[in-house]
Symmetry: none
Subunit: 217 residues, 4 copies
DNA sequence: CATGAATGAGTATTCATTCAT
DNA sequence: AATGAATGAATACTCATTCAT
């Protein structure tokens, strides 16, 4: 149960955040919320609309904050600098607010169509900062990726994963972690001449195995 | 409703796979399963144990298949070759079997402790192939990453994301997609001399913004 | 929401009257009442006892008023005159105060036994004016009905119906409407020589149909 | 609790019929229904859709039956004969099936718009038989009422009231009761020359009283 | 092989009401 | 005079599951 020193309305929000992140929206009952917040289920409804409103609120807050952080960051400087800053922000956000970001990343499908559209729009806006930085970098030649759209998706997935496992009491500070991700992101985007000379035999074997295990439908 | 030409037992599995992937385990009711499979809820129980057994089965199958594909692949050759093959396999699997892999990636928390331990063990075994390839590459100098454990997590998240968005009728075949991911993975692992000389001022600003938006609790 | 110029206590009464008439007692929640009255649910309880008290109050007022109107009216003059006056009053009351009378007519069953007894006593007292006028008319020969008790019930139901459909902006004024009801009431009570010679065959057919549709259980 | 010899599905219907008639739709909880039917609330839903479906079903059945009875009855013969037959049927139906008819008469407002429209259409169709018989009688001179529409409403209200109080073990059989209503209905429709010469003074007094008690808003 | 019948426990949400301020 | 906070009990309805047939 959350500390009773906090006002009840805030405790309800915190309970929702923690439980939605931990068990998912559908895996969290309102009784769970009430118990964690230290109020009765009836009192819950004094502080919230529906359970889904609570979810939408969390996701909206999460996306707006990320967007607010990305806006000044995603625009100035070279593509390399922009990607570096976006990555840094994204990782720091996911390390500092893993609950918010996990809920935002995982529970889109639990929203009703109306809220889903709203949140998706925010996310799309956010992703545009990434895409344009990548595209610009490809134009200037700073980045060498063959499929810029795929690169964006790969980068975002990779960075968002942080929220799933990062612990501040681990070996890396959030800042160090972000630095590592910046390096990896830039490495990923600058695929160098030193390319894999794929052993055709091995690849052939592997593809045969894949085809056998997951026949093309 | 699924085609009635399939035997009912298989239709139940397919229904579970589709619905768990689409709505999540907790978001799927057994009535949904029964309807999609075209049988009554009572009949469902002729073909399955509990709803959770169905989930555990899917996850087990998914992980075992991946493991079976990774075993011969993860061992021979240079670290670079091994990572290339693992990436290729992982991406092909996620492109070819997005439902299985999404369920396996997302629904671990829905399992009861017993099954969770079993699946986690399989996943850990699988990830060891990646980790040892990365570590070996760092030893040989083929890879230059500062935090090999983080690199593993980043790589896996990035590649698994494929199951969330890849469509076989899009611009890339699964093979081309895998090739792009291999390039990006190797790029990510070989962070080259061309390093970002971070504008300290800008980073300072950004960190101040981040600290403001997500105060360290 | 009701006009805020009215004092709150009155607005609560009006809200209750309107909503109980429109949706019934059980179909009306106290949140509905509060919203319509423009106050919070807590404030509601400054102006009322329980929700049921509010209902009992309305019904008591309604019946007392009707009784007060009927008292001087139900006694003097010939039975014909008395029925004419009672009918006139009853119809005017139901046309002028449809909400009160509808609630009084429909929501007896929603009252707790205590209040129900009280209101029923008032209603019985009121109906006695009607019954005695009818009985007297039968004695004097002014009325020719075979079942005076049934006639009372029929008359009252027929006149009370006015509250369900009369609109003052329709083709008839309340006075004209009352005049029509007086005529019909007196016609109903004076069943003349011109009697139906029922075609026995037709009646037989009909009774057979009725027996088939609604078997005597 | 209803006899367990009946099949459960039927017991649910009977319970709904009785309780909706007795306490109204909103006054009846599904626990009440379950208890009366002798099943659990969950089992209830094996035999019904929603609570409202149950209500709509009852009303539909009730109106359809009445309509089926009225169809052959409302058409042949003189207006007097038609009204006599309609009245007879209506009264017999309300005496034989008081629960059905009370629910149908009282709970229209509890229906959702969709079902309400459907039931209202049936009721309007039924009332047209009455209206056309009345109108035809006015044309032929058999009936002398000043406001035929009002007469229809008055007749229907008066006859429907039967369902509220008639008991088969009382002094009148249903057939006798119907006969009395036929007489009253025809009397009501044939308002004779011998009309009330209203004592103007008395009427004036009364109207003054009415105006005082129920001021015209 | 398949299902209709049945349920205890649970779902999210609302109920009328109280009370301290 | 008015309300925000709080709640136990109820609301209609669904859950996953069992079992006799």
């Amino acid at each position: 149960m959350l500390p009773v020193t906090e006002p009840a309305g805030r405790r309800v929000r915190t309970a929702a955040l923690e439980l939605f992140a931990e068990r998912g929206f559908h895996g969290t009952g309102i009784r769970d919320l009430a118990q964690r917040a230290g109020v009765s289920t009836a009192t819950l409804y004094h502080y919230m609309g529906t359970k889904e409103d609570l979810l939408a609120e969390i996701m909206r807050d999460s996306m707006r904050l990320l967007l607010r952080a990305a806006s000044p960051t995603g625009t100035g400087g070279t593509p390399t600098e922009r990607i570096a800053r976006l990555t840094r922000i994204h990782v720091l956000a996911h390390a500092a607010r893993p609950l918010h970001t996990r809920v935002a990343d995982d529970e889109l499908r639990a929203l009703s169509p109306g809220s889903r559209a709203e949140i998706t729009a925010l996310r799309d806006e956010y992703e545009r900062f990434w895409q344009s930085a990548i595209d610009d970098g490809v134009s200037t030649g700073e980045f060498r990726v063959q499929a810029p759209g795929v690169a964006r998706l790969a980068l975002l997935e990779m960075c968002s994963g942080v929220a799933r496992w990062y612990r501040p009491d681990g070996p890396l500070t959030a800042g160090e972690l972000a630095a590592r991700y910046v390096e990896m992101a830039l490495g990923l985007l600058t695929v160098d001449g030193i390319r894999l000379e794929p052993d055709p035999g091995a690849v052939g074997d592997m593809d045969r195995l894949v085809a056998e295990l997951w026949p093309p439908s």
